[in-house]
Amino acid sequence: MSPLQRPAVLRLVPRPAPPAAAAQRVLAGGLGPRLPGILLAACVPLAVYLLDLSLRDEQGFARLSLWFQPLAVKALAVLLVWAFAQHLLMGVRHLLRDLRHTRVLATSTRADWPVRLCGVGVALLAAGIWL
């Protein structure tokens, strides 16, 4: 079966479920764990634009510095740092688990929590520096 024809069993909007089951499903499956990566991917054109602007001329470089002054932009940058940290740490965790062949579905969700907390910790650190 080609990738294009493989069965689509995942739903963007899950069916109604009891609150605990719904929360578990949001955290363990569905689109939830992929959101940081999707957010980062959506920001790639913005990153290229910022690189372009910073290298265009001196005015562009100066304008870029000014853009990062407002609090809202700094808050957005902290959000992106969180997404980046979350994505990177989860990626490292998945890689290590794959290399050790210790991927166990039943325990994976529980063991995700320290990684999530580390991601939040990195974002708080960035917030402490910038805000």
Partner: protein, 112 residues
């Protein structure tokens, strides 16, 4: 219609691109911390260096490959019909190729 390889080659490509990006990211953070890159001239000269330009090019090649692999999975998992998947993947490929061309143009302009 087959869209590239699946399974271990994709896992290897994703892991390699992620590792390469992480290494370059550490290099950039270290450079910003150590080198004086506070003015346009300093920043421009640093990026225009052949090794840094090559590093940026390889970084974006890895990044766009990584984005393709990740969003391809999302499209294949969540788009319900083959037609929709084909359209989303086509748009994604076009967007990533345009971004690659944009990065190449920036790096060529910096060299001149």
């Amino acid at each position: 219609m087959r869209l590239g390889k699946t399974g271990q080659p994709l896992w290897l490509l994703r892991s390699t691109s992620a590792t390469g990006m992480a290494v370059f990211f550490v290099f950039v953070i270290a450079a910003i911390a150590v080198l004086p890159l506070r003015t346009y001239t300093q920043w421009h000269e640093w990026v225009a260096g052949p090794l840094v330009s090559l590093g940026i090019f390889i970084f974006f090649a890895a990044l766009l490959t990584h984005v393709w692999l990740g969003l391809r999975e999302v499209a294949l998992d969540y788009a319900q019909t083959a037609g929709l998947r084909r359209m989303l993947l086509g748009l994604l490929a076009a967007g990533l190729l345009a971004t690659a061309a944009w990065v190449a143009w920036i790096l060529i302009r910096v060299q001149s």
